[in-house]
């Protein structure tokens, strides 16, 4: 189907979550079911209206924990699309992209996309769930030999190289964490409820220097679901739909870490160019950013890689309050993954949908005509993007 730039073909008509918790409890399928039912009801639809199901699978999970047999826990009719998406941190944006493609192809009309994860279990805390050595050298066992454990290792190495490249101060990541916490104080769904001062930030313990506890995401157990429909479909929801104005992916040859070390680029810019090109917008037209910021450093790097700040200028932009409430570019208005909650790519996508629909309450940004959302994974090697809007046709 030919697509006119600035005219959306799909919309997110409803969204919902399960209970979100910092303690072990319900299983992956139970949480997913709760979120799916909430999203279908929010869209003003019945289970019998749903003809597509995309299951976003966390790479923390054993394969049998969420399978396509999950559909039997829902009273669904024959499905025209049933698939598991798993692409590290980019899984959820990929899920709504694939739903849109299936709608545009005429396969389906109403697709539910769901992400469910339980990093906190009886035997393991959230830290342990993410503490496997991550692949940096692409040589079997290499990282293990140096004690380079956890996603935090790769991000800390990239953060240190980034900090040195631009000669940034020791508090540079703290300003980002504080800006996110300011938003969290306005967001009922955010898990961090207490003001964060620079003194408290600098007093928080290092996990892997230069990253401190407050530079790291706050994982929760829970599920988030979205109902994707054709853009020209009428909605019975209590709120307007949110239109998908553009989307893209960019999986570069280099992760952010190797790109920093080799002075090359990652795939982030590519993912942005495709999404902006589809929507007919430029970075300067974007009102709000919802970034995948599992570490404070990734939020700063994302602002530069996606083209919202020039190289080396994101730290100053954030320090000046431009991403905070009242700033010129609100970023991660639900507190993001540091102060809101971490459910991988579902976190920024959910907040983008809420802001674009104008239903964000006390934290609602005044301008929300175009919201940029990013998903990233594999130490910023894999990127997916989308641009959401309350308008079906962009003027």
């Amino acid at each position: 189907m030919a697509r006119k730039s600035g005219t959306a073909t799909s919309a997110i008509a409803g969204w919902g979550t399960s209970a979100l918790s910092r303690a072990p409890g319900a299983s992956i399928p139970q949480l997913a079911r709760d979120a799916v039912l909430a999203a279908i009801a929010d869209a003003g639809l019945e289970c019998s209206d749903i003809d597509g199901l995309v299951l976003g699978q966390s790479d923390n999970l054993a394969e049998q924990e969420l399978t396509i047999a999950f559909r039997h826990s829902l009273n669904l009719n024959t499905l025209g699309l049933l698939v598991i998406d798993q692409a590290k941190g980019t899984t959820m944006l990929q899920a709504i992209q694939h739903a849109t493609m299936a709608i545009n192809a005429g396969m389906v009309k109403n697709v539910v996309c769901v992400f469910s994860d339980t990093p906190i279990r009886q035997s393991t805390g959230a830290g342990e769930a993410f503490a496997r050595p991550i692949n940096i050298m692409n040589l079997p066992g290499w990282e293990r030999g140096y004690g380079s454990f956890g996603a935090v290792a790769g991000y800390a190495l990239a953060a240190a190289a980034f900090k040195a490249k631009y000669d940034l101060d020791d508090d540079c990541f703290g300003h980002y964490a504080i800006a996110c916490r300011k938003w969290a104080l306005l967001a009922p769904s955010a898990f961090m409820k207490k003001e964060l001062t620079m003194e408290a930030y600098l007093a928080s313990k290092y996990i892997v220097d230069p990253l401190r506890l407050f530079d790291c995401a706050l994982p929760v157990n829970g599920a988030v679901a979205f109902v994707v429909t054709a853009a020209d479909q009428s909605s019975n929801a209590d709120h307007p739909p949110v239109y998908l104005q553009g989307f893209g992916q960019g999986h570069g040859r280099r992760s952010a870490l190797s790109a920093l070390v080799l002075e090359e680029t990652s795939g982030a810019q590519y993912a942005t160019d495709v999404a902006l090109g589809m929507s007919g917008l430029a970075q300067s037209d974007i009102d709000i950013c919802q970034l995948y910021d599992a570490f404070s450093f990734s939020g700063l790097m994302a602002l530069e890689e996606f083209g919202f700040c020039k190289p080396g200028e994101a730290a100053g932009f954030v320090k000046a309050g431009q991403t905070s409430p009242g700033g010129q570019l609100p970023v991660n208005t639900g507190g993001g993954q540091l102060s809101g909650f971490y459910l991988q790519g579902a976190t920024p996508l959910l907040e983008a949908v809420i802001q674009a629909s104008g239903t964000a309450g006390k934290r609602q940004a005044e301008r929300h005509d175009s919201v940029f959302v990013s998903n990233s994974g594999g130490c910023l090697e894999y990127h997916a993007t989308a641009i959401l809007s309350p308008h079906r046709v962009l003027q």
Binding site: Y146, A156, V261
Partner: protein
């Protein structure tokens, strides 16, 4: 010789390291050095191996303060070295008696356990 007998390029590098030798891969066709992260792009007969100079620069340096495994007691550092020939390597910096910062010159050595490690070039 069956396919199973041909060592992959990753295994060739690992075997050299196990012998206490740092060698680097070059494209046979162009002579260009190959990043170690890209070894699996190449078949064994597409690469030449040359002895590395062992010199490089510290490209990143972090200090673990959390214990993830009993074999590694914090604090300990994990570093990225950009070798003068171009490839980068994850390793660790030893001999921290002097000042150390990103960008400094380092040299390769093998420690008592056979690991490839780096130390400040000024101290060697």
């Amino acid at each position: 010789m069956s396919a199973a007998d041909i060592k992959t390029t990753k295994a060739q590098f690992a075997d050299l390291i196990a012998e206490g030798e740092l060698w680097l891969p070059y494209e046979k066709q162009t002579g260009a050095v190959v990043q170690l992260t890209d070894l699996e792009i190449y078949a064994p007969d597409e690469l030449d191996w040359k002895h590395a100079s062992g010199f490089g620069k510290l490209a990143s340096y972090v200090v673990f303060h959390r214990e993830y495994h009993p074999d590694f007691t914090p604090p300990y550092n994990v570093s990225i070295i950009r070798l003068d020939e171009g490839p980068f390597l994850l390793s660790t910096l030893v001999d921290l008696s002097g000042p150390h910062k990103i960008g400094m010159a380092v040299t390769a050595q093998f420690d008592a356990s056979g690991r490839l490690v780096f130390s400040p070039a000024t101290n060697t």
